[in-house]
Structures are given as C-alpha cells and as structure tokens.
C-alpha cells in the first residue's frame, strides 16, 4: 500500500524554514535580552515565553484573527503585498516562528548571559564593534546553546498541531502537515496510514535528538 508522503515533506519543510527564520530573528533578540538593563526587560522576557504556557489554540486563534483579511493587518498584507497568509504555507511559518520563539531565544539567551564578560571586554579593547564581537567571539563560544535552540525549535515545529491546524486549516498538499494527517487518518479509521506517519515521526525525532546529544557532547566541552 502506498501512502501520501506530502504531509511529511510539508512538516520537514515547515520545520526547516521556521528554524532558519528563528536563527535570524532569535539570535539578535536573545542578544538584546541578555545584555539589556532596561526596566521593560521582564515584560519582553515574559512575552517571548508566552507560547510555553498558552494553549496552542489560543495563540493560533489570535494569529488567525490578526492575519485574516477581515482584520486591518491582514487586509493591509493583502492590499499592499498581495498575499493572503491564512490557510497558506507562509501563514504556517509565521505561526510556527511565534510558537517556537522561546525554544530558540531562551537557551541562546542563557548561553550569552553565562559567557565570560571579560572576553567581550577584551574584544572591545581590541577595537571590535558589538556586532563583530557577537559574530567572532560570542557565537563561536556558545555553540552548545545555539545547537540546543536549533534542535529544540526544529523538533518542536515538527510536532506542532494546534497552531498549524488553526492557521493552516489542514488543506491537503498545502497546509496538512504530518501531525494533522495522523489526526485525519485516525478520524477516518485508517489506522495503518496513521501508524505509517507516526512511526516515521518517532524514528525521525529520536534520530534528531541522538544527533543533538552527540554534537552537544562534542561542542559542549569546547566552551
């Protein structure tokens, strides 16, 4: 019996794109949170961690409302950029990035905060800017926490259900990722198909986590 592989590819694509966006967004955010001394810092820290405590449906619901053409922001996107993000892959990426934000930002922020400040000051006295110091000194020496952020965001996005269902709607070949496909197959009593997707997800997740622990052991010692 052959099964439709698109849900798996969609999940993989979504997790990859989300992780790349999170690296680009999460590192600067983690940096500013780690080194800021502003009074509003606890508020921003709490906001980043909100997806950890909110039910995914709540988050998905608000993102859906915000991005829908009926709302000012969604209407703006449609009018100016001519894109409708709800029930599309782009919408899934936006939702996943917000939902997995703490999984990237929190470990990276902790890594930056624990990094010896004297090394940062040494780079400054050698004439290096904050950006150069971040790229050449801080990031290469906090690889273990960056790796944690990457793996956790990726794995978390692979297993996401509530947010992608709310924003994506589970449209076959467009937004129906593996976790939703499993749910649909169980609903239709196609247990063998559900089992097929589930086994692949279990094996894949396990392999990813084993790889992470191997890499962590190697890079964790460098720091």
């Amino acid at each position: 019996m052959t099964y439709d592989l698109t849900p798996l590819w969609l999940s993989l694509k979504l997790a990859t794109v989300t992780t790349i966006v999170l690296i680009l967004v999460g590192i600067p955010l983690a940096y500013s949170l780690a080194f800021s001394r502003g009074r509003t810092k606890p508020f921003w820290e709490a906001l980043v961690s909100m997806p950890l405590v909110l039910p995914p449906t709540v988050l998905g619901f608000y993102i859906l409302v915000l991005l829908s053409p009926g709302h000012a922001f969604g209407a703006f996107l449609e009018r100016v950029l001519d894109v409708r993000v709800v029930f599309s892959f782009t919408g899934l990426v936006i939702g996943s990035v917000i939902f997995s934000l703490p999984f990237m930002v929190n470990p990276v922020k902790a890594g930056f905060q624990n990094f010896p400040h004297a090394l940062i000051e040494a780079a400054y006295t050698l004439g290096k800017s904050r950006r150069q110091t971040l790229v050449s000194v801080i990031i290469p020496n906090t690889k273990a926490s960056l790796l944690t952020g990457i793996v956790m965001s990726f794995a978390h996005t692979m297993g996401e259900f509530g947010v992608v269902l709310m924003i994506g709607g589970g449209i076959p070949h467009q937004t129906r990722v593996a976790s939703i496909a499993i749910y649909n197959e169980v609903e239709a009593m196609n247990y063998s198909a559900a089992n097929f997707y589930s086994v692949i997800l279990v094996v894949f997740s396990l392999a990813a986590l084993v790889l992470f622990h191997v890499l962590y052991r190697r890079h964790g010692e460098v720091v």
């Binding site: 000051e121 040494a122 006295t125 050698l126 800017s129 020496n141 460098v222």
Partner: protein, 243 residues
C-alpha cells in the same frame, strides 16, 4: 597622559569615593599599588573606557578620551589603549595566531603577527589553542595581542598574579624587555611590591580610592609597612624566596 577621575565605588565595607588626579609622562611605567578593593582595577577600566567615572578627564597624547565637562566619552573601541587582563582573556575558539590576527585593523598586514609572536618568544605555538597553553604562555599571547594594536598606553591589570613564582619572575623580565624595546607608556596594577619595584619608575600607593603616597619605589616603600619587602628585595628576589 592626564588622568583625573572621580567615582563612588562600592566595597563590602560600604561605598567610598575614588578620586585621583595624575600625569603620566610618555614612555613612563607607573604602578598603582594597594590592597584589593582600593579601586586600582576601576581606574584602569575607566582609562580603557570599560567603565565611566562620574567626573573626570582622560587625555592621551593630546587626544581626549573622556571629558565630563565637555560630554566626551569615547567607547573602548576608539581608545588606543592595550588592556592585559588578569585572567588572560584569550578567545578559546581561536588559535594563538588567530587571537593575534583578531587585533589587527582591517587591511593591516598579517606579517606583524609573526613579528609579535617572535617578540614574546611564541614562534612554533601559532596553531595551538589557548586551552593547550601554560599560564605563562597565555599571558605572553595576551601581551602580544594588546601591543599589536599600537596602543598609546598599555594597561596591565595584575597580569602576573595568577602565575607561579618562577614563571612570574620570568614574565617580569619579559615585560621589562618589551617595555624597553617598545618605549610604550605603561600603567601597571599590582599588589606585589617586588613586581612594582622591578617594573615601575613611579608608584602611586592607593588606599580607599585615594593616593596616599607617590614617588619612586624607594621613596614610597621606605618608612612604610612595606619597608621589610623593600629591604629584602634589594638583595634580589631569590633572597626572599622563603618569605
């Protein structure tokens, strides 16, 4: 070089006011000597721009680095000051050579790296990572790295205090040799009277943020509680090994 600094510092016993006003001549090596917590390191950090005084004026070679009355406060990147930290502060992800190259300005030739490696006797260790170096070797790398930036002043924050006695003596000779060769202005922070006597021409003795005595090492240490060190040191460091 003009250094005038005022700042309230926190100590375990409570806050105290640091206030110093000194002139350091070009090519001079001066020491800031005193017990830990008397504000020595803060002075170096304020000269380097890593910390800001409440009030002050820092001028090097005619260039204003800090002037509270004019609202000038150059960031550390813009001050030509070499800083050598007590705990070496070498970048663990870079080899010896890469640590030195990191100090070069954009477009500067890497040839100078070899020259400075030779200057501190580290040829052959270029490809080693800091974790594979001894304490003495690490501090030589840190010295070469700080000098590579053509600083107007070299700030040494208890650079040798983490080393064993023998290595410390050897490194003191090394610092002296580098000083004589480069003719650079040096400000050394130390709580080791031998080191101060060996390396510096002038000493500022600090107590709770204020200079209580200054002058040549002989004038400062004679008649003070440190005289015993001075008398022993005159007979050479070896004579006081058991001290």
């Amino acid at each position: 070089m003009k250094i005038f600094l005022k700042k309230t510092l926190m100590a375990p016993e409570g806050p105290f006011d640091l206030s110093i006003d000194v002139e350091v001549r070009d090519g001079e090596c001066v020491s800031l000597f005193g017990r830990s917590g008397c504000g020595k390191t803060s002075i170096l950090r304020m000269i380097a721009g890593l910390q800001a005084p409440q009030e002050g004026l820092v001028k090097a070679d005619g260039e204003v680095w800090f002037d509270s009355s004019a609202g000038i406060n150059l960031p550390p990147q813009k001050r030509a000051a070499g800083f050598v930290f007590q705990e070496y502060s070498l970048f663990p992800n870079m080899t010896v050579e890469e640590n030195l190259k990191f100090a070069l300005r954009r477009g500067e030739e890497a040839v100078r790296v070899q020259e400075y490696l030779g200057l501190v006797g580290l040829k052959g260790l270029e490809r080693r990572y800091p974790s594979k170096l001894s304490g003495g070797q690490k501090q030589r790398v840190a010295l070469a790295r700080a000098l590579l930036r053509h600083p107007k002043v070299l700030l040494l924050d208890e650079p040798l205090s983490a080393l064993d006695v023998q290595t410390r003596w050897r490194l003191q000779d090394e610092v002296l040799r580098l000083y004589e060769k480069t003719g650079i202005t040096m400000i050394l922070v130390s709580h080791d009277p031998f080191e101060v006597m060996k390396l510096s021409g002038r000493v500022f003795m600090l107590e709770a943020g204020r200079i209580v005595k200054s002058g040549g090492p002989q004038d400062v240490f004679c008649g003070s509680e440190w005289e015993v060190f001075f008398q022993s040191a005159k007979n050479g460091p070896r004579a006081v090994r058991g001290f």
